[in-house]
């Protein structure tokens, strides 16, 4: 399909909290704004049943509800949305072109807010048993493991949140972490340690996921003693961090050693007129609030870039 070239002032890539916040600001600045989202509005936070740390919601707010509202807010001010995957950017001149699998769009400035994707374990059995016991979303799949034993891999906020979520259904949750302390926020650590259903396997890494029709066991190794053990589980929930989604950008703008976009204090990247916001940016603390803040900062500075 070759669609006609459509012209905008600002193109935002990615419809999570960073991109949506940027859209609210650019649309209110009366800049013609297009948001391109490859899957679903909301980004990673749609997997969170409740966001407890976004200011203004004393009882927390659903990840979907929050981002749907952000999308409606930006749309109300005139932002347009296209669902497609960006495959390339040409950014040399004043007009920048964004290529998607279905067409091309141009803009005077681009805000990249493509976020991060859940990292995989990369061990045998993981791909084979995805959807058959291996899961990346406890909110989605927890109920399939009622009265079963499940493992959660990781030690950060995502892993701890998944473990707590799973206690609603599972008989027992084993949190498997490669270090001897958790990285999660203190309040989350307190909850995990106080939960009678959760046990923590410290200094432990998974080596292989085994099963027949579905997962039955996971092979673990203690990183200090090198001792290998087998654990009977019906589910393995993977929460070992995330990877910035920047594959198509590596020859265009400067990335750090993990592939996140390097941006200065105006959130401008190494390419003038291209800005980065949210989890995709090097140094991001990967929170909804910081993503939203990045979106606003990038939007205001992109507006200034256009008017200069």
């Amino acid at each position: 399909m070759s669609e006609p070239l459509k012209k905008y002032d600002i193109i935002i890539i990615g419809g999570g909290p960073a991109g949506l916040s940027a859209g609210i600001y650019t649309a209110r600045a009366r800049l013609a704004t297009l948001l391109i989202e490859k899957a679903a509005i909301g980004g990673q936070i749609i997997n969170s049943e409740t966001v407890e740390n976004y200011p203004g919601f004393t009882e927390g707010v659903g990840g979907i509800d929050l981002t749907q509202a952000m999308h409606q807010q930006a749309t109300k001010f005139g932002m347009e949305t296209v669902y497609d995957e960006v495959t390339g950017i040409e950014a040399g001149g004043k007009q920048k072109t964004v290529t998607t699998s279905q067409g091309k769009f141009t803009a005077k400035a681009i805000i990249i807010a493509g976020g991060a994707e859940r990292q995989k374990l990369g061990i045998p059995g993981e791909a084979e048993f995805t959807g058959r016991g291996v899961s990346y979303c406890a909110t989605c799949d927890g109920a399939f493991f009622r009265d079963k034993v499940v493992a959660v891999i990781g030690g950060g906020n995502a892993a701890v949140t998944e473990a707590l979520e799973l206690t609603k259904f599972a008989l027992k949750v084993v949190l498997i972490h490669r270090r001897n302390e958790l990285r999660a926020t203190a309040i989350m650590q307190e909850r995990v340690k106080a939960d009678p259903k959760i046990t923590i396997s410290w200094d432990t890494v998974p080596l292989e996921i085994l099963g027949d029709k579905a997962v039955t066991q996971i092979k673990l190794q203690n990183v200090k003693t090198k001792k290998e053990t087998m654990l009977d589980v019906s589910g393995v929930f993977v929460a070992v961090g995330s990877q910035p989604a920047t594959g198509y950008l590596k020859d265009i703008i400067k990335l750090d050693n993990v592939g996140a976009i390097i941006a200065g204090d105006k959130l401008e990247t190494s390419m003038p007129g291209i800005f980065a916001a949210g989890d995709i940016r090097s140094g991001s603390i990967r929170q909804v609030i910081s993503a939203a803040g990045d979106g606003a900062t990038a939007a205001v500075n992109a507006g200034k870039y256009i008017s200069e």
């Binding site: 679903a40 749609i46 990840g63 979907i64 995957e85 959807g131 909110t139 109920a143």
Partner: protein
């Protein structure tokens, strides 16, 4: 029937297994975020393939036995049935879901 129809366990045989056209079954639940997000995509396909492919939604809370029977342990799961047999399935909602679903449906027609 250009909108996905919600069916329960009792109707599964008649609506899905005995259907003359291929049937795409969207296994979902109200508490699953990505399931809510994938719904508009499935609706879009239902319009595009109106008359050629039937689209149904099965709530795994209400139809746990059907979900178990087809090995659904992760949602959203989209299973395409042809002649009463599952021919392809897509688990989760990613950037590839749209193109994979199109490929699967076109292959079944």
């Amino acid at each position: 029937m250009s909108k996905p129809v919600e069916i329960n366990e009792e109707k599964f045989g008649e609506t899905v297994l005995k259907a003359k056209t291929p049937v795409l079954v969207d296994f979902w639940a109200p508490w699953c975020g990505p399931c809510r997000m994938i719904a508009p995509l499935v609706e879009e396909f239902a319009k595009e393939y109106d008359g050629k492919v039937a689209f149904v939604k099965v709530n795994v809370d209400d139809s746990a036995e059907t979900a178990r029977q087809y090995g659904v342990m992760s949602i959203p799961t989209l299973i395409l049935f042809k002649g009463g047999q599952p021919t392809s399935s897509i688990i989760g909602f990613t950037s590839e879901t749209r193109s994979e679903l199109k490929k699967n449906i076109d292959a079944a027609l």
